[in-house]
């Protein structure tokens, strides 16, 4: 039903989460959709009912971005960061820091776009600070949680559900 087959989550190292997804479009368009605020705010929304009232992107090395979302019940969530590297249309690197106190550390996100016969493979790698492993219990849990590959976990859950039912 969904185009989920090509969406992969992996953990290249114990400080990273890498997500890979193929898009049926050339690279310069994907790069634009990832870096132009008027485009980003159309898709980077999250759960149904959420909007992105603030989406500011200053796409240059050292430039800042600011994203803020609002949920159906008025809950707000925000993140900000600075661009470290920009090599349009194949790669850019930005820091990320969430407003929420439970997610206090800064991570580094690398976007790599590879085009092949009109399709673009996006790999989004999040590198967490080593300090976070120590400080951010929740975040470290998040990494580890995702680290168990979904497939493995799903198998596990399926069998547990069957056994426990």
């Amino acid at each position: 039903m969904m185009n989920t087959g090509n969406f992969k989550v992996a953990t290249p190292t114990d400080r990273e989460i890498a997500m890979t997804r193929v898009f049926n479009a050339p690279r310069h368009l994907v790069f634009g959709a990832l870096s132009k605020p008027e485009l980003v705010k159309q898709w980077l929304l999250g759960p149904p009912g959420w909007t992105m009232p603030v989406c500011e992107i200053d796409l240059r090395v050292g430039g800042a971005y600011r994203f803020q979302w609002r949920g159906p019940d008025g809950t707000e969530m925000g993140t900000r960061g600075v661009f470290r590297e920009i090599a349009s249309p194949e790669r850019f690197v930005a820091t990320e820091r969430f407003d929420d106190p439970w997610y206090t550390g800064e991570s580094l996100i690398t976007y790599v776009l590879v085009e092949r016969s009109g399709k673009t493979t996006l790999t989004l790698t999040v590198l967490y600070e080593s300090r976070e492993a120590r400080d951010g219990v929740l975040k470290s849990g998040m990494e580890k949680g995702v680290a168990m590959s979904y497939d493995r976990l799903e198998q596990l859950l399926a069998s547990v559900a069957a056994a426990g039912a």
Partner: protein
Amino acid sequence: MMETFRALAEPNRFQIVELLRGGPRPVGHLVRRLRLRQPQVSKHLRVLSDAGLVDVRVDAQRRIYALRPAPLQELEEWLEKYRGLWEANFQRLDSLLEEMKADERKSAQPKPKQKKSPRTKR
């Protein structure tokens, strides 16, 4: 849920949970399969038990451990949300890219016009 993560983050404990997928097992079985010393295994089992991931019952002299599904189901819901959130984003991005491709084709037909996006000011 944090406790579930913390408990499962340790590889031996994750392996214990996987071993228990097949059904309840006595401690001795886990000790043999993990190739750890019994006190180490017991320590891991205590963490899993504190996190509500396993239950123990005593059968004669043997302590038999079994999985409890509730925390894992909670974890699954959380992971589904995490994945679902990104998948929903990516599907919106799919549709946006289709529009962008169509726009590009249109503007390419008469004469390739340099299409600049409006400058964004903070």
